[in-house]
């Protein structure tokens, strides 16, 4: 805050500070200094008073000393020369018989943050490490860390490091924890303090002496430790068990983090720990501090990813209080959606229904989309609520309801009848862009069942000149085209007008291009148009897999007890419900049990490594799968099926065409490595050259030389894709069986496990698809 009259104030303060009468009266002197600090914290630059304040430092009054130090530490970097004057006083104070004065002097000496003073500070710091009083040792230990960070490049004396290691055995627990912290900072380059068995056991044994801050710090550092034997692991776990149910959330969370990291390859233990920790986490959800509640709810969301049914019986704890802030309400609703089951669905829906009319529009919309999510499993009840909400005729509610209905219909086509009936008349209330876009999509796709659809569109087409939003125009074009296909008589005229406007008058290139595309498409004949425009109107395959599969703990263990779940989760959920037809994406987590149920015969040939590709860090797999029917799948359903397991299709040939091929890619998580970039990119090609077992002559001599173009990492996916795709074509496929589809996979960086798992998933998908066709 800029403070008017700052200069005047500074001048006045200087006069007062140098007034001998004031200096001789301790109380007045202290009050003047108090005024300086007050002005300082109001944001006025009082650095001009530095020399006067340095003088004020030499006093026996501890309160005054502390005040002056606050000032000096803030401005020392601006006045390095004058600060030298303080050093003498500080060094003298380090000899003071009163330990409080010693620690104060030592702390502020290191807080001045002046590289030039380092040589004066080292000696008192060394002495401080051996001080009798614990409070001085605490300060001295951290002082070394501060000193190191002033000169990050310079080596700290090995003797000091050794001394710090030995101070881990200091009787004072805070000194011990500070040593940990200081060593972590000083040895950052070597990866922090060496956590070996004796140190770990020492720290664990003294954990009870620390306060909660110390405990959480120690537990965090111990995450790096890997027990040498299973017995040791279980000893540690049982020792820590009481901390897991600590009433203090910081300790509980740190303990769980440690549990998850040291038992990362024992999933049973991790799950048991999650169950045990759910009690204290729930208690934190009811904490008096709403920020703490928020943190707890966010972490519960993480837990639910792995153990979906964990808190089912406690769903009532996630009902929102009416005075709670919107950010907590939103998270609680997300949790409620996860906890729905046959018994509680009525209660939860009833509760969510109450939030739909909330004063806060964000909360209301979040509640509506939560109902939509539940609608995927309990569509009738939810549609009833949603339809009822339309009756309110409020723009933000109607908009959210229409968007929710669109998403719901995409997943559950059986809802479409109810939705079509409900849509009548809501175009009058809709104001915002997303809501109108959703309505247009529904009108286009289900136009034949909504009697008023052409009239609604006509009104919009008449107003298209004044329409500002690009998205609406595009959606309007598509919707009108679709409607034309099913109700040509009523729509022909308005379609003509719309196309005319968009091609002749519209200034935006996107809209114009799309209109031109449709115009030419119509020239190709109605059948072709139909083929292009009337694709899927729903995604039936999504319906089966609605229940979220439990994900392994390792997927989120690393971000547990960090700020990540608090900041990122909301974004994730939001992007989930926006945008036209919603695709539920699943992480391509290899669920191996799926492949067991389906038998797939395939001959596997793995050429791993160098003979084909120069780069060592690539993996290469070729193999044949027998699932002929896949050829007859429509590209859309193939794409949808792939997306279900998070495989993205890049390009494919039309069905029935030979040679038939599909290019695809995906990212997978690296399963074992704990460090560094942990995703790998897999590129793949599906190729079928047809019954005749052609010696595919499609290669067109695309050069192998392009292999070098492969990028370093995954960023330039597309470019890389082209390069690889070309290269893939070169592969020989002589030994292919009749009616087989050849799968060629390429991966970078190499991770055999992930590649195998990916292959299993891919084959499963292909088999499922062909069995559907049969």
């Amino acid at each position: 805050m800029p403070y008017l009259g700052g200069e005047e104030t500074v001048r006045e303060l200087r006069r007062a500070l140098s007034n001998p009468n004031v200096q001789s009266d301790p109380l007045r002197y202290r009050n003047t200094i108090l005024k300086v600090i007050r002005t300082m914290s109001q944001g006025v630059d009082v650095s001009g008073l530095f020399s006067e304040m340095v003088k004020a430092c030499a006093t026996v009054d501890v309160v005054q000393k502390k005040l002056v130090y606050v000032f000096l530490c803030s401005y020392a970097t601006l006045n390095p020369e004058l600060s030298l004057l303080v050093i003498n006083t500080l060094r003298k104070d380090c000899q003071d018989p009163n330990p409080m004065v010693r620690s104060l002097a030592l702390r502020n000496m290191t807080n001045l943050r002046l590289p030039s003073l380092v040589e004066y500070v080292e000696q008192p710091l060394t002495a401080g490490l051996r001080d009798r009083a614990a409070c001085v040792r605490r300060v001295a230990v951290l002082g070394w860390a501060k000193l190191h960070n002033l000169h990050p490049s310079s080596e700290i004396d090995a003797a000091v490091v050794n001394e710090l290691y030995s101070l881990l055995r200091d009787p004072d627990p805070v000194v011990m924890v500070n040593c940990l912290r200081a060593l972590e900072e000083i040895l950052k380059e070597e990866g922090g303090i060496a956590i070996n068995k004796p140190i770990t056991h020492h720290l664990l044994n003294r954990l009870k002496e620390c306060d909660i801050w110390g405990q959480s710090e120690v537990l965090r550092v111990l995450q790096r430790y890997r027990p040498q034997s299973e017995d040791e692991l279980f000893d540690i776990l049982s020792l820590l068990d009481s901390f897991l149910v600590s009433p203090h959330p910081p300790v509980m969370a740190a303990t769980l983090s440690l549990f998850l990291s040291i038992s990362s390859n024992l999933p049973v233990i991790s799950l048991a720990a999650l169950e045990r920790v759910s009690g204290p986490l729930l208690a934190a959800c009811g904490s008096g501090s709403r920020e703490m509640r928020f943190a707890a709810v966010c972490h519960i969301q993480l837990l639910l990813r792995s153990v979906p049914g964990l808190l089912g019986p406690h769903y009532k704890r996630f009902f929102c209080g009416y005075a709670e802030p919107a950010y907590i309400k939103e998270r609680k609703m997300q949790v409620l959606v996860e906890l729905v089951n046959d018994e509680n669905v009525a209660m939860i829906l009833d509760e969510l229904k109450g939030y739909c009319t909330d004063v806060n529009t964000d909360t209301a919309q979040a509640a509506i989309s939560a109902i939509g999510r539940i609608g995927r499993s309990y569509s009738d009840r939810c549609l009833q609520i949603l339809t009822g909400l339309l009756g309110l005729k409020q723009d933000h509610i109607t908009s959210a309801v229409v968007q929710t209905m669109r998403d719901l219909v995409w997943v559950c086509p059986q809802c479409s009848d109810t939705v079509c009936l409900a849509l009548d008349g809501c175009e009058e209330t809709l104001q915002d862009i997303q809501g109108r876009q959703a309505l247009l999509w529904l009108l286009g796709v289900y136009g034949e069942r909504i009697s008023t659809a052409p009239y609604t569109l006509e009104v919009l087409i008449d107003r298209v000149r004044s329409e500002a939003s690009l998205g609406i125009k595009m959606e309007l074009l598509t919707a009108t085209m679709r409607l034309f296909l099913c109700r040509p008589a009523e729509t022909q005229d308005m379609l003509g007008r719309l196309l005319h406007y968009c091609i002749e008058e519209e200034t935006d290139m996107c809209v114009r291009d799309q209109a031109l595309l449709y115009y030419r498409l119509l020239h190709c004949g109605i059948e072709k148009t139909r083929e292009v425009l009337q694709g899927r109107r729903s995604d039936p395959s999504l319906g089966v897999l609605i229940g979220r599969p439990a994900k392994p703990v390792s997927q989120w263990a690393r971000c547990f007890n960090t700020l990540e779940p608090l900041s990122q989760g909301a974004v994730e959920a939001e992007s989930d419900s926006r945008g036209s037809p919603e695709h539920v994406t699943y992480n391509s987590k290899p669920n191996a049990d799926l492949s067991d149920t389906l038998s797939c015969s395939h001959i596997e040939e793995v050429h791993s490594g160098a003979e084909k590709i120069e780069e060592v860090d690539c993996a290469w797999i070729e193999e044949c799968v027998r699932c002929p029917a896949v050829l007859h799948c429509s590209p859309q359903s193939l794409q949808a099926a792939m997306q279900l397991v998070n495989i993205q299709t890049l390009a494919f040939t039309p069905q029935q065409m030979l040679p038939w091929r599909v290019y695809l890619y995906t990212h997978t998580q690296r399963s074992h490595s704990m460090d560094a970039p942990n995703t790998t990119l897999i590129l793949g090609e599906l190729l079928c050259t047809g019954e005749a077992n052609q010696k595919s002559g499609v290669k067109k001599g695309t050069a192998d030389s392009e292999a070098g173009a492969e990028g370093k990492e995954d960023q330039l996916v597309r470019k890389e894709m082209d390069a690889t795709a070309d290269r893939l074509r070169v592969s020989e496929d002589g030994q292919e069986e009749e009616e087989g589809i050849k799968v060629i996979l390429n991966q970078q960086p190499k991770d055999d496990d992930a590649l195998r798992q990916f292959l299993t998933i891919l084959i499963t998908v292909l088999n499922t698809l062909s069995s559907e066709k049969d």
């Binding site: 914290s41 502390k66 005040l67 943050r113 703490m292 009416y322 309110l392 700020l563 608090l566």
Partner: protein, 426 residues
Amino acid sequence: MISQVFILSSKGDHLIYKDFRGGAGNDIVSIFYEKVTALTGDQPPVVMNHKDIYFVHIRQGGLYWVATTTAGSSPFTITEFLNRLAALVKDYCGSLSEKSVQMNFALIYELLDEIVDYGYIQTTSSDVLKNFIQTEAVTSRPFSLFDLSNVGLFGAETQQSKVAPSSAATRPIQSSREQGGKSEIFVDVIERMTVVIGSNGLLMKADVEGEIRVKCYMPSCSEMRIGLNEEFSIGKSQLRGYGAAVRVDECSFHQAVRLDEFDSHRILRLCPSQGEQTVMQYQLSDDLPSALPFRLFPTIERDNGGSAAINVCATIPVPKGSVSLSQELSSPDQSAELKPQSRAVVWKIARFAGGTQLSALFKLEVPSLSSASMLEVGPVGLSFELPKITATGLQIRFLRLSPIQPGPSQRWVRYVTHSDSYTIRI
């Protein structure tokens, strides 16, 4: 690890700013405040980030308490720290407000200096801190009897004549030695109720979160014994005594509490340190032993006689676009007003005698009324404060201090039940 800590008033004035690690830009506070004000809602998210600086903040006493940190820090630790800091400031300054923080900034800097060093939390125990803190607290008004905003007229139950003034516990802990050593101890049983009542009058959810809080102004108190109801039981299976049991679902204690007599006699032993601390926390869901304090069908009725509720406030959401309100209230000390901003009628009852029934009739004028508008009415939210009553029935049987305090000392036991969220569907 905490890089900076600062306290802002709700208007964005810098009250306290402390940089522990150095190297941060001076504009960090303004960046934070811009982020807060840029949001439309009045409730900014707890965690916000600017590049790789993360701001974690809490709201207490109308102030923003902000810590900046890195992405890998524990949110639990940082929020707990900020809460603890606010509690300590409250202990040392007497109360939490913009004014008290402004007047005691030197004290707060001193506190921060001792609590955190180089971004690492050193200690927050008031026992340790009292040896280091030298600055005296400045209180704005020694006893704010007339400050009705924090009325909490809880009396000691057995001594009706000797009622502690509401502000007795809002004074700084340090001044006790100067103010003639008035040694006092307060034991507060505070319960927060979260209730949802369905439109048919059936109880849908009832949660009670309770805590026993000790506020100690005694310089020398080595041990304190708090006796709870003998029939107090934890969990569903365990029942004690013959009378109506006082039951809670879960219960946790402060780490300083010794529980060796808890199993047999329900006695908590502890050495209270100066200032405020939560000795025990407990929670109970669903089956409350006593009847609910408020009912509302068309009226609000209050059973559970013998006492009175204060500061009762009913918030009734009304249809959007309501323009005016006419009201019929049963007594002059109530008030009701229409708040178009939050789309609600707020009915305030300063004092609500036990066993009585109050009625109010509100007439709203809604120009564009449709049948669907009726859906927008309700649910009613009720906020209240019930002195001298605990919803779980938990009681303090006795409170003994040892060694026997020299000179006069006063012990206060107070009970209060707050509404956390009391919702009645219409």
